[in-house]
Symmetry: C2
Subunit: 535 residues, 2 copies
């Protein structure tokens, strides 16, 4: 998430601020709309590219989403396209592991996934925000069905091993109590005339009404045990039917305990633009998108092709690669243009003759390492015992998250959950372990939240992205400083070579970054080709 717009838009924004100050926000909204400012997404459909010069060719490196979007669109525009891909499958980080799959990480350790039929785990991306129109539109075009991904589950847990004796708390409880107590405090200040605000008396009266609603406060603006607050935080005994159906209200926690637990840190995730409802996921695993692209591009992608050098001259680009199963078997491919989607973590180690600005950019960006662990359990105890249907439990333990599957709800039999999604130092520590040890630790930590883990654990897989041979990391970890210095240089077309991928976007780690970077690039490349006729 970066800063404000350019100087020219700042001027326009200043105008809007002035309107806002003099005439109120509703007028400003209209002004914003009429200035075309209230738009949501920079994505306006795929660019309409037509009339590629006869025989113009593009060599694409990498059959991840960026590379396949480029191949799909440029082929449609009339270019001769071919793709070199290191893996034996399409998709790159768009990837689902299923029973029968094997995965060999850097260092040679191979895991054999033993999940039951129909169950899967996404080592890479796992959710699609509603505003990621680029990837959503490709799902539509390619016929990949979607279903909701549950991010916030009021009945999942927030957990701090140092609070409440290490007992996990329901999200709904902490959420209701934090909201209620803060609303009560603000209502008190408002009633006592202590607000430091230009709000009129009328607005303050509306504020009080709204706080009662927002915080489930009683008629005196207090947050206390009542049917109303239980209707937020949950009941001691929920309402039911017949003579035994009378509900019993619950008692709010004390505000001191809520504050000092720091569990309020788990309350804002679902408010963030990228995690707001409605999130979506492909039915059957995120990898369904890459697989569908792969089918669409059948015959265009050469698999098991490990690029070893990229060399451009004034007429085109030559790429040297070897069959990844037969190291040393050097082969060459050549085209008029090359679009390279290889992650910078790997590209920075390859010979490539681009100018110094792009070369520096390629070398500059570090890659974040994360670890994700998929665990299969003998039964869906989180649903059966704990009433948790999808969603995420947040914890201060190294596993960070437990994410319950957003599919097969309420079904009998086994289930696979995301047992850990590790970041930072914890990810480094887990990356250094043997996969079996990563899994063992994940089960051990998770059992602090779900004691059922020990009896119900079946098998697991653990992907440490720094050991992934096709990415050497999870995503480009741009800082604001690095972006200021290198981002535009990374995205420029350098002679006959250009880069695309999540690393060439303001959406690092998101598939939408890969898709929109590809679309942005091919529009510019096509313009250059059409202008220069440089075939």
């Amino acid at each position: 998430m970066q800063g404000e717009g350019s100087e020219s838009t700042m001027t326009r924004r200043d105008l809007l601020r002035m309107i806002g100050l003099s005439a109120g926000g509703a007028v400003m909204y209209q002004a914003m709309s009429s200035l075309g400012f209230a738009a949501q997404s920079p994505y306006k459909g795929t660019p309409k590219l037509e009339g590629a010069p006869q025989g113009a060719s593009v060599l694409i490196l990498g059959a991840g989403l960026a590379g396949m979007v480029v191949a799909y669109e440029l082929r449609k525009a009339g270019y001769k396209v071919s793709v070199l891909e290191y893996n034996a499958r399409p998709g790159g980080r768009n990837w689902s592991l299923r029973g029968g799959d094997t995965y060999t990480e850097l260092g040679g350790r191979t895991q054999h996934c033993q999940f039951d039929r129909g169950l899967y785990f996404n080592p890479g991306p796992w959710r699609i925000p509603y505003h990621h129109r680029g990837i959503l539109d490709y799902c539509k075009k390619l016929g990949v069905p979607l279903e909701p991904f549950v991010q916030i589950n009021h009945n999942a847990y927030v957990h701090n091993s140092n609070a409440f004796d290490g007992k996990p708390q329901r999200y709904r409880t902490i959420n209701a109590d934090y909201r209620g107590y803060t609303a009560e405090l603000l209502a008190k200040s408002t009633q006592q005339g202590k607000l430091d605000t230009p709000l009129s008396k009328d607005d303050q009266a509306i504020l009080l009404d709204s706080l009662r609603d927002w915080g489930a406060l009683d008629k005196n603006y207090a947050y206390v045990s009542s049917p109303q607050t239980s209707n937020r935080r949950g009941f001691d005994k929920a309402p039911g039917g017949g003579l035994s159906g009378k509900p019993i209200s619950s008692q709010p926690l004390q505000f001191h305990d809520v504050l000092s637990s720091h569990l309020w840190k788990g309350l804002t995730e679902g408010e963030n633009y990228e995690f707001q409802t409605t999130l979506l996921q492909p039915v059957g695993g995120m990898g369904r998108i890459g697989e569908a692209f792969g089918r669409e591009l059948h015959g265009v992608i050469r698999y098991n092709a490990k690029v070893t050098a990229i060399q451009q001259d004034e007429h085109g680009v030559s790429v040297t690669y070897e069959d990844s199963h037969h190291p040393g078997s050097t082969q060459k491919a050549r085209a008029d243009w090359c679009i390279c989607t290889i992650p910078l973590s790997i590209l920075s180690q390859l010979p490539i003759n681009v100018g110094p600005a792009m070369a520096e950019a390629i070398a500059a960006v570090p890659y974040a390492g994360t670890v994700k662990v998929g665990l299969q359990f003998k039964r869906r105890f989180w649903e059966e015992d704990d009433d948790i249907f999808g969603g995420i439990t947040a914890t201060d333990l190294p596993i960070n998250n437990i994410s319950y599957p957003s599919c097969d709800f309420n079904s009998s039999g086994k289930g696979v959950l995301l047992g850990g999604y590790l970041w930072g130092l914890n990810a480094y520590e887990f990356t250094a372990m043997d996969p079996a040890e990563r899994i063992r630790r994940t089960v051990e930590y998770g059992a602090q939240i779900h004691p059922q883990y020990k009896a119900e654990f079946d098998n697991g897989v653990a992907v440490a992205w720094h050991r992934s041979p096709f990415t050497l990391g999870c995503f480009a970890a741009w800082s604001d400083e690095l972006r200021d210095k290198h981002y535009d240089n990374l995205c420029q077309i350098d002679g006959r070579i250009a880069l695309a991928g999540e690393h060439a976007s303001y959406l690092p780690a998101w598939q939408e970054g890969a898709v929109t970077s590809a679309l942005d690039l091919i529009e510019r490349l096509h313009q250059r080709v059409m202008a220069g006729g440089a075939v």
Copy 2:
């Protein structure tokens, strides 16, 4: 939602309050757990009933969920069960209308549903909360697959025709701005030492940290235009890829405009226990549950049977009914016991010899009338144009809600949404109209929010529950006063007759009320049978 527990639990609660006051909430939580107080649901699985006396028979009136739960469980316990049902189908209010279905309401107007294959509309219940374990367990037993029902969608609208010139606002915008401005106000009061609170200085420091997080405040605890606040409320230009990917932050509304719009009233629905994530729905329509029960009880249910009288004597119960297609064709059924699930709105008009307490209860409870309108559109413009995938738009217009389908996301072709869910006076007004007029008005109102309505509308159905011949209303509208006076009398077993249904529960209008009232009753009935041997 009713009041506190009984006197004996009050005593226990007083003890808990004392612990809470002297030693802090964390200690209280432990005490609550050890006293068995932190339980969530009164439902602990279906009662294990065994050993019904040889030949003991139960006649069940109504094949809605309550009646079918009773039939399913009592048959398993060894009773001879039979069910009389007015409709030609099982389910009662558990019901989905699909293309080819017809529905004739009181007054004789018949609607022919013209939805495309695979599309449906639920005139009755449409969502299942995660804590409604009774109905969830029957879905599991009967093999009814479930999927998430999206209630809150940050990108759906909140709409007040008198605010913002009648322009709908995105939920995320109002939500972020209300949250941000109230957090800012409370942070200011805290900083200025103006809080009326026993919170320690340390707690106040944590409170300030938490408010920054909660409200997306800047380092000075102000809610202002920034990438951080845009990451809650949305961007003017969202982040993307390549050279065109730089985001532009949005400008918050003015707090006065948010408050005076009263759109904050739409922000708490998803916080309520019954609408919290994760809500679920059966794949293919809520009616799948009733249909599955109907298959399970094949041969047990007699359809098109309109009950006209219920008469008990010391040995059993006789029920008179007629074939609803052949009025006047009187028939009789008799059993040792009768469990009647006929809505009170209808039962109160039938001769039934129960004691005065139950008779008064039956007569006392009014029924709420609601109207639901399903609209088919030629394309899913809410997804394609407005990025709304499922969820609900709330409006002050008579239609009250627009609910977008929580299935077939991102698919091409037509879609059915809930165009209106009317309550109170609006429902009465719509009930008086011809169905075609209800639909016309619903389209007209909805077009104020989605201008696409006019071009894209295809066809619709409108169910006014006060005109439903099998319920004469939507659900039992208990007041606290009525419940105090009549509820227990309604739920007692009166001789050989007992009642079940949502009307005999603390969960009016919810299927879980029907299920748990049935389970509560059959346990008591079985005990009475086994104790009395009164066959």
